[in-house]
Symmetry: C2
Subunit: 345 residues, 2 copies
DNA sequence: GAAAATTAGACAATCGATTGCGTTAATTGC
DNA sequence: GCAATTAACGCAATCGATTGTCTAATTTTC
């Protein structure tokens, strides 16, 4: 059974004895069509249940009102909030969003980028996967002057737009906070170092230690592949079994931080007295775990909205691709909860 | 600055001295094109970086390989996992997904449905909003023989596909479990009763009570608008301040269940000894809260995959719209954790 | 009152891929 | 050896909306 064919402006034109061009212009309130005609056309369109075919319009204009979104995994708190922000800002302006996830597999990311390109998105918003080191699959967009916005996990050098948080400062502040709470040996759960977010967080951590006259002990820095709960548990155990265990842990995400808390509790270690813990992201679980996890909050929704605005700004103003990376850095917020509060202030 | 125009099959045709139709067929391995020509065309396409214009193909075929997804909020654990499942199954078959969220506002849902329709999606997957009572905005799809799949929150009577869990049985089992654990006065946090999911959960709760010879006390059933943490807290306080408080609560979602646990603890009520609690959804927070929350797990990802399969099955086999609601009911799984475990079995 | 200007709308090309049908040329059949 | 197939490819219409250009009718101008 085939799809029924739809009612088009040609059908309307025939019915009203106007030309298709007049119908098209009338529906768009073009100035060269009389008010009377516009009223007639719109009324008939309404009655007949006419709906424009966006595919046709997009093809003709060589421009779809669709924004491509390429992420690693949709079902992660930060990502889903990001997408939510993107969608809200987009739909407000009449744009649709086409979503693709790579599941952190590089090959999928390349395939998805192609698919989004083929769909002629008017712009693309992407957050890089764990495996991604080359970004050649985004060059096709730039070549066609289609704006690319990288968000959160961004490449080092790509002449385009970027929306990030200040990972360095956030990490610096989080670590400083632990130091202020009396921690002397602070461990760090780091993520893959080819990704800016984890690299910057580590840098902030190291610099905070140095600035406060604390030694940087490489044995306290554990770099994980995926920052999963399992890795968090294993690393916590490993750290605590050494002769000189840490008295604080700055984790690159909440998943490992919560995992650390649960593991420490299981081991009978007091939090925050013996080991203070701080995470990153402000996932829902962070406020539920006991003791509640101190963390760094991402303005995920706003980041998404900003990404959309970047795309629209480029598209509507017909700007050229920026000659340099045009970067928006958003502020983070340190949320201090029980897992790191040793002193009453 | 305009978008550059792209390299098309016409450009390829000119370059290779073939007709556009031959190019088109060669790229699709059409049998009437010689292997030699196919090789030549594909090689040149690759070299020139040719990319098909999906808009053009879709317009011509009156069929886009795009599935529309209409949900209430993207950034909710269940929904984002659902979408993830939809996307995985879709991309595997070369389909894209266009996402729109209503934020639980009926007007948005109608607008989004229109937008997805205008984009000529080949099918639509929808979960109804809290406010939604009429579903006329989905009729346009059926009229055009575009498959509609309702998932989780589904309308009562719509001749189309449906993917749900067995809310009744899940609720029945959850309540029975509480009874088995010795609860005699079980409260229920119910959701809006015009939605199937909450109506069925309530029914399952009521029937389990009846079947076990317990009285159904309307004062123990609290119907909430949005099942938010705030409502959960307020309702818990209200319940516990009565002269005859409950000794168990079956909550329609995890948000209110966790909220109940936190509130009970704040009030000094022992869980599960004085009040046992069980939730619904298996959100990440449920395993983190203390005591860990017993709950009902949704197979969210699988539901998403199944939705996509339903669409593809309809599209690929060119089936007609089902004459009756064609319903897939998935099994749930009762996860028993500390919040409801009174007896050692 | 005739030329100029404005108004209202029609014509036809265009976007890029697809496909039914037609046309050669090569191959097969008897 | 000639008709009948088959193979390989071209022609041109089509999907539905958009838009530059053109035309006819009406209004304005001096």
């Amino acid at each position: 059974m085939e799809q029924k064919k739809s009612f088009t402006i040609y059908d309307l034109a025939r019915k009203l004895n106007y030309s298709p061009s007049t119908i098209s212009r009338a529906l768009k309130n073009h100035h060269s069509i009389s008010d009377k005609t516009i009223a007639i056309v719109k009324k008939a369109a309404e009655e007949e249940g006419y709906r424009p075919n966006i595919l046709a319009a997009s093809l003709r204009n060589n421009q779809s009102k669709t924004i491509g979104v390429l992420v690693t995994r949709i079902n992660r708190p930060f990502i889903s909030s990001l997408i939510s922000g993107i969608e809200n800002a987009a739909s407000k302006e009449g744009y649709n969003i086409l979503i693709s996830q790579s599941n952190d597999v590089y090959k999928n990311e390349v395939t998805s980028a192609k698919a989004l390109f083929d769909s002629r998105v008017c712009g693309i918003i992407a957050s890089l996967g764990m495996e991604t080191e080359s970004i050649n699959h985004f060059k096709q967009f730039s070549k066609m002057n289609i704006p690319v916005v990288f968000v959160d996990r961004v490449p080092a050098d790509f002449k385009s737009y970027t929306v990030v948080i200040d990972n360095y400062t956030a990490a610096f502040n989080a670590t400083t906070h632990l130091i202020e709470q009396g921690c002397k040996r602070i461990a760090h759960f780091a993520g893959a170092q080819h990704l800016n977010v984890y690299r910057d967080r580590k840098k902030g951590y190291v610099d905070a230690l140095v600035e406060n006259g604390l030694a940087v002990d490489d044995s306290l820095i554990i770099t994980m592949k995926s920052l999963s709960a399992e890795e968090g548990e294993a690393s916590t155990e490993q750290l605590m079994q050494t002769t000189n265990p840490p008295d604080g842990i700055f984790c690159s995400n909440d998943t490992t931080a919560v995992s650390a808390i649960l593991t420490l509790k299981k081991m009978g270690v007091k939090i925050p007295e013996e080991v203070a813990v701080i995470g990153f992201n402000d996932d829902p679980i962070s406020s539920i775990v006991e003791p509640a996890l101190s963390t760094v909050s991402h303005p995920a929704m706003e980041m998404g909205e900003l990404c959309t605005q970047r795309i629209l700004q480029h598209v509507l103003k017909k700007e050229g691709t920026p000659k340099i990376a045009e970067c928006s850095v958003l502020d983070t917020h340190l949320i201090i909860r029980a897992s790191s509060t040793r002193k009453n202030t």
